[in-house]
Amino acid sequence: MQEQPENWEPRIIAFLCSWCSYAGADLAGVSRRRYSPNVRIVKVPCSGRVNPFYIVKSLQQGCDGVLVSGCHPGECHYSNGNYYARRRFAILKRLLEYIGLEEGRVHFSWVSASEGDKFAKVVNEVTETVRKLGPATRLVKHSPVDGVVN
């Protein structure tokens, strides 16, 4: 655990499929289920839509955490997009952690439209994990490389 700057709050981006997880997030809100406000949501049609670049770019931009959430297996509105996503992210997550991204920056979940509670729980978990890790540094692109040699 590293030392955290004062008032630092994790900034987390979430890519939610519009049919299950986004609706699950809505349900959490409708049921006034409290959860941590650190997540910014991008609605995508399907977890299968989530290009690995979305995750990598988010990390490069300085997001402290990334969450991708879709329909449970077998429940994909588009039949099987989440199955492809699952394979893609199994590889990507392992790769990112292998190159040294801290375990706990990138998360995946299945949240259905009826799982408002689960959504809240996932967000809280993700936020807490990221909070423990502290601000992202490793993949973040800071500023110009000027000057001369490394």
């Binding site: 490069q60 394979r87 590889i91 040294g100 490389v145």
Partner: protein, 315 residues
């Protein structure tokens, strides 16, 4: 008859009978410890073809741009790359004539230079698995097998997986003890250590894209690095940009990389590129049981799924 002679015979036959327009193989232009790709169209030139442990290029790289019918000299890994290229519609099976070479491994020049403390090799003669290297201040006899490329040491497909003519008998399978030893070692280290390792090796990258260009499977008309809408990766040598480039290039080889080692060999700054691609190959095998380029009409692991694929990483 040695394999080189056989190879030349076969190439001559193919050209004379006009079965192919060109034979893509290796020739020796005199540079010690290396060969260079050659494109032979005249049967009279087939004696330029050589076959030795310095034939390290993956010539499948040259097939994608061709419209004519080409014969290509291909080692086990090269034939696997060809299989992937056929599966991905990049070449037509009928347009390529594969001269399959059972391969005992190729020499990693950098290992020799290293052994010689970066000595400047001015002459090298290969005879029966012994390379006699000469520099201005030294002469040394080196065993080929002591200087094989890393990818060859863990090679489990030394024989062509697909070919029209196989030159020579199949080699027995190599006794690969721990294919992923280096990867596992790294996996077992801490996150900080891994980050430090990759930061260090990737900071040597000068974004010359030789790894991409040498890779037979990096055939995209437009690489993601050149994409504008949106521009995913910065073009600088900022460590973040460099790492993202390598993460995504490696990711794009998922289930496709045949571990021919072309990327790493081509790197002018000795970046450990295979530590990324091999890791993915390992994961693909562990998670999905797939290995690239072994079968025609096989779908790449990312364009396929099983309902019971592992998902323990998903909340």
């Amino acid at each position: 008859m040695d394999l080189q002679t056989k190879l030349r015979q076969e190439a001559r036959k193919l050209l004379e009978e006009k079965l192919v327009d060109v034979v893509i193989g290796y020739e020796d232009e005199g540079a010690p410890l290396r060969t260079t790709p050659c494109f032979i169209t005249d049967p009279q030139d087939v004696d330029r073809l050589v076959w030795n442990p310095f034939c390290d290029h993956n010539l499948a790289r040259y097939l994608t741009a061709r419209k004519d019918k080409a014969a290509v000299v291909a080692k086990g890994c090269d034939t696997r790359a060809i299989v992937v290229l056929i599966n991905e519609n990049q070449i037509e099976r009928k347009n390529v004539n594969i001269l399959g070479m059972p391969c005992g491994g190729i020499v990693d020049r950098k290992k020799i230079y290293n052994h010689l403390k970066n000595g400047d090799v001015r002459e090298a003669v290969l005879k029966d698995k012994v390379i006699t290297v000469k520099g201005l201040e030294f002469t040394a006899d080196l065993m080929v097998d002591d200087f094989l490329a890393d990818c060859c040491l863990s090679c489990r497909h030394r024989n062509p997986v697909l070919c029209d003519v196989q030159i020579g008998e199949n080699l027995p399978p190599l006794d690969v003890k721990d294919e992923y030893k280096k990867i596992k070692q790294l996996e077992e280290s801490t996150s900080e250590e891994r980050w430090e390792y990759f930061r260090k090796t990737l900071s040597k990258c000068i974004r010359c894209y030789a790894c991409r260009e040498a890779c037979p499977l990096c055939y995209c008309q437009q690489c993601f690095t050149d994409q504008n809408f949106p521009a995913w990766v910065g073009k600088t040598t900022d460590i973040s940009d460099t790492i993202v480039f390598h993460i995504m290039r490696a990711f794009h080889t998922t289930g496709r990389c045949v571990d021919c080692g072309a990327c790493e060999r081509s790197c002018p700054n000795n970046v450990d590129i295979r530590m990324l691609t091999k890791k993915i190959a390992k994961d693909v095998k562990e998670l999905f049981g797939d290995e690239a380029g072994l079968q025609l009409e096989e779908k790449a692991p990312l364009s396929f799924y099983n309902e019971d694929d592992p998902q323990d990483f998903i909340k």
